[in-house]
Each structure stands twice: as C-alpha cells, then as structure tokens.
Symmetry: C2
Subunit: 333 residues, 2 copies
C-alpha cells in the first residue's frame, strides 16, 4: 500500500475523503492514525447530466483541491480515496464506471470506495455498529444496517415523500396558514401571520413559489416558523408531532429488529431543538424499544474519513452493495 | 345595444362567451333567447407573461375564431363579450386594463365582463342562485356566494393545497406505494403494484417526475389507480375518504350558512364515480346539512354563456368584485 511513497512509513499512507452534495464539495486529506489533517471546500455542486453525476466535473474540482491539500500537509500521494455522493444509488452509473480510473490516473490513488451520502451519514454518526440513522434537512432519509446489508427508507423528495423533513414541515405549515386565510378547518392564525410576514400577502404566494427551481428549499425555509409557533399553537404542534411520527416510521423500517441497535439523528433539521426532538424521542421510544439513542459522532464528511481510514488500513468491514457502498478492484495492484 | 346592427331586432343582439384555461380557449357565439349557436376551440392556452395573462395573445386567437363564428351563424357584430379566465384574480391586471378596449376596437364589442374561471364554473353549475360549487380536476377550488359577495377556498396549487384534488389523491397514492416499497407503515402493496405498472421500478420514479414541468398532472394521472384499488384496499379507500373530507372542508368555508343554499360538483375529477362520490356525499351531508345537493347544470363555458346572456339583456345580477367578476364601464356608451 505504500508503493508510491517508498520513503514513507506505513502510517504515513494518506487518504482523500470527499463529501459531494447539493451544496458543493468538501475534501479532507488525512493519514490513518492521525485522522483528518486539512480540509478544502467548494460551493459548486458536482454537475448531474444525462449520464448522472459527472465524474469529470468532480475531478476538475478535486484535483486542484488535492494539490493544495498536499502542499499544506506534505501528504503528496494519497493511496486511498473515498467519495460520498448524494444520488449515488440512482445517478451513479458513470461515477462507478469511470471515477476509480480517473483517480488512479490523475492522483495515483489505488484504493477507492464510492458511498451513497446516506452511508457516509450513517458511518459518520454511528461508525461500524448496527443501528439506524435519520438524516434530515430539506429532505429526509433513514438508513440502517445489521452489518450484513444496508436498508434505506424514504428519501423520495418533496413531492413523493421526505415525510417529516424540513420541506414537509414547511409545506404543512403553509397549508395551515392558507386554511386560516380561507376559513377552512385546520387553519392556524399564528402560522398565517408568520407566513404573511415572510412571504407577503397570501394571494401572491403561489406566484412566488411555483416558478422557482428550489421549491423544496422555499418550503423548508418556513419550517423554523412552525417550530417557533409550536409552544402556543396546537396546529403547529400537530405538524411537528406528525413529522416525528413519520420520522419514526422511517427509522423503524430500517432498524435491526434484534440485538441492541443504536439510533442517531444527523442533519440540519434537528437544530430545530425541543419542539421537534421532544415528540421524536417519544415516537422512537414507542416504536423502537430495542434501540438505544446515542448522539451522532460526526457528519457525513466524518463518515467519509472513517471509511477512508479503514479502507487504507485494510480493515473496512461494512456491507458492500453497488448502490450504497462500492469498492471496485484496486488499480495497479 | 343594437346600434352596430341597425337592421337587427333587439333579440338578435349577439354575444361572445369565452372560456380560457390551461387546456386552451373555447369560444361560443350566441344570441339571448336562442342561447349558444356555434362554438370554436383552440388547444393553445393563452400565454402568461411578466404582466400576467397576455390580452394581445388572447385577441390574436379570438379575432379569427369570432370571424369564423360570424360567417357560420350570421351574428356579425356581437355587442357583448364575457371572458372567463383561469388566473384572473392573481394574473389579470393586464386583462382588466386592456381587454375591454381591445374588444371594442377589434370586434366592436361594447359590454364586457371578465370572470374568474371559478365564477364561470359556479354560474355554469348553479346559475344565479346562492350556494357552493366544488370544481375539481388536477387542482381544486371551492367557490360560494350568498349573492352579495363571492367566497373562495383552496385553489392554491399542488404544493400549497388543492387538498382532495386529482394531484392530491395521486400524490397520496404514490406515497402509499413508496411506503410499501420501503416497508414503512401506511403502505399499500396494491398501489405499489399499480405504480410499478404505470411508472416502472420505483427507484426511477423521482428521476421521471421531478425534471418535468407538468408535475401536478403526472401526480394526478395516478388518481384513477387509487380509485380502482379503493374497493379492496383500505389504504386507497382512506386516501379517498381524506380527499372527500378536505373537499367538504373547502365547501363548508364558502357555502352560505343560512337560507337554502345549493351545492354542486363540477370538473373531471368527479368522473371517478362512487369510490370518491360515496364518501363525499357523506362528508357534505355531515358538514353542510343546510345545503341541498343538485347536479351541475353545465360547465364553465356554459357559465360564460349564461353571464353573457344576462349582460346582453341588462339583467346581470351577480356580486361584482374586480378579481372575481369585473364589468367595466361600457365602451362607446
């Protein structure tokens, strides 16, 4: 494993750990035993074209970041790279086919793993232990494993699911605002006041929302208002209770039924705090009495670092699955 | 009123009645007392630009259709025109400002009414009687009047409302299919089978839905599958019961509370028949015991014809409201 750095000791074998998602690319260089040494990030999301996630666009961003990280840390030739990518399962064909070769040719990397962002979220939160992780922001996905296979639930986007996500909570809150505006049952005057404050007169809201391309994010932007109203407004509290129930349904679908699985929460939505966490803890306790709640150790980039560390050491022992965690044969070995 | 047709008798004063919506333009020429004489239609929806619904684009379609109708019927110079238009309330500024002048200049029309499509739906279904009308297809709106003012509820589009609409039912059905796919609570194996038959493997569904511009119509295309499953599948039946409840909530928000209001249903969604109509009748009876259910007399184009007939006769007696039913001062009077 140290063939390309003949003067280095085994422990100086470096790795690159990548987290590629909707808000851009983050890259860490590290060394097993010493962990992450330095980080770079780009705000440009890797492009998705007709062939799915574009491996060449990813490399065009990664190569200069890797060079800059090498200059800073002295880790010149990482032998291992792990790329956690949103959309790997459905849009990862070109990535699986071409990225290992590109990483070998352009950066001298020999060991590669490609991971769905749900897997890096899981490993970042729980490491190689059985359980379930809820990852929630604008969207929502649950991922679980008994260490023999990966299971996922929801993550279908704001029109088909993502039940309990930021977009889901915001959308339900705006529906309650418009119910109050119309005089329909299920309305909330408090949410209507917040919606008018945020978006202006309600009759103009459809014209402001539908033409946008980031509709899910616009919906999610209203979720904190629902949380802010929940203490005094039964409709807002009901939205968060329903969100918590949907989250627990997704966690229950992926959590191992036996053993002593762990359960962790990760992602920006949980910054909402008690108004969401209190009903969620109740739902998780009721539906998953066998699972123990633990705090997430780290984020998806941390998961990518953990996978890279174990891959570089030859100790990676997680379920393999082309769409979830894919380790092709080594280049040049 | 007959100044432009000096040889004609009073009853030969013609009118144009227009229904402009998402699927194109329909135009009728008629004469009060003789009703609609002939019809033309175009499949090109009137364009919506930065100024809202484009009056010149409407006229470019209307003028040749009016000429063709005049040649067929001998009604050469209609003095009255009624335009029912989807989006009048929020996108009708340019239409209100310019269409009366354009109709006067290009077609010699003196009396004009602009109506929201909800108003033409109402008048088409119930005529000038107090009550409430549910208009449902891909979307859903409730409109009601006590003959002193118009009230509307919902109609906010597939992300913010249209609760109970075709898009709403189809979306809920697809969510239930994906719940079954994931092993989450609330899933329906029957709906999953129908969804796979219609859209292919579920993991590909997000990639097929989200890039489209007609997402609401794609969701609504699954609604008939929900109806088809409802007899044997409790989840599908539950979706239709919830849809019926939301429809009744909207009807209750607009229906006069006193008197003997009528209630009617109009629009393509109700072709779904008993699986939807049976729970809807129950909900309407429970929530609106004061209202009498009647069959809709006709569609929105029929509503436009009725308004035009009364406007031409000088007997139009419906609530006026710039956004719902707008009759500007006559041109040339």
């Amino acid at each position: 494993m140290t063939g390309r750095a003949p003067g280095g000791a085994q422990e100086e074998t470096g790795f690159l750990a990548v987290d590629s998602g909707g808000s851009g690319l983050r890259v860490v260089v590290g060394v097993p035993g010493r962990g992450a040494l330095a980080q770079r990030s780009s705000k440009e999301p890797v492009r998705t074209g007709s062939r799915g996630i574009d491996p060449e666009h990813l490399m065009r961003q990664l190569v200069p970041m890797a060079a800059s990280l090498a200059a800073e840390t002295g880790v010149e030739r990482p032998t291992t790279a792990v790329v956690g990518a949103a959309g790997l399962a459905t849009l990862g064909d070109a990535l699986r086919a071409e990225l290992p070769g590109l990483l070998a040719r352009e950066l001298g990397v020999r060991s590669v793993a490609l991971a769905a962002d749900a897997v890096t979220a899981y490993v970042g939160a729980l490491g190689p232990r059985p359980g379930a992780v809820l990852a929630a922001g604008t969207g929502l996905i649950a991922i679980g494993t008994d260490l023999t296979r990966w299971r996922r639930a929801d993550g279908w986007g704001h029109l088909l699911g993502d039940c309990g996500s930021g977009a889901w909570i915001g959308r339900a809150g705006l529906e309650a605002a418009l119910r109050a505006h119309d005089g329909r049952d299920g309305g909330s005057a408090a949410l209507l006041a917040r919606a008018e404050e945020m978006f202006g007169p309600m009759p103009e809201l459809p014209g402001r929302l539908y033409p946008r391309t980031d509709r899910a994010a616009v919906l999610a932007s209203f979720a904190p208002q629902v949380a802010a109203c929940a203490a005094d407004d039964p409709v807002a509290a009901g939205v968060l209770r329903a969100a918590a129930r949907h989250m627990a349904e997704s966690a229950a679908a992926v959590c191992p039924a036996s053993g002593e699985p762990l359960i962790a929460l990760t992602g920006g939505l949980f910054k909402m705090g008690e108004p969401l966490l209190a009903p969620l803890e109740r739902e998780l306790t009721a539906r998953l009495p066998q699972a123990r709640r633990v705090a997430a150790e780290g984020d998806p980039l941390h998961g990518s670092v953990r996978i890279a560390t174990e891959l570089a050491r030859g100790t990676l022992d997680l379920p393999m699955d082309e769409k979830m965690l894919y380790v092709p044969a080594e280049h040049g070995s």
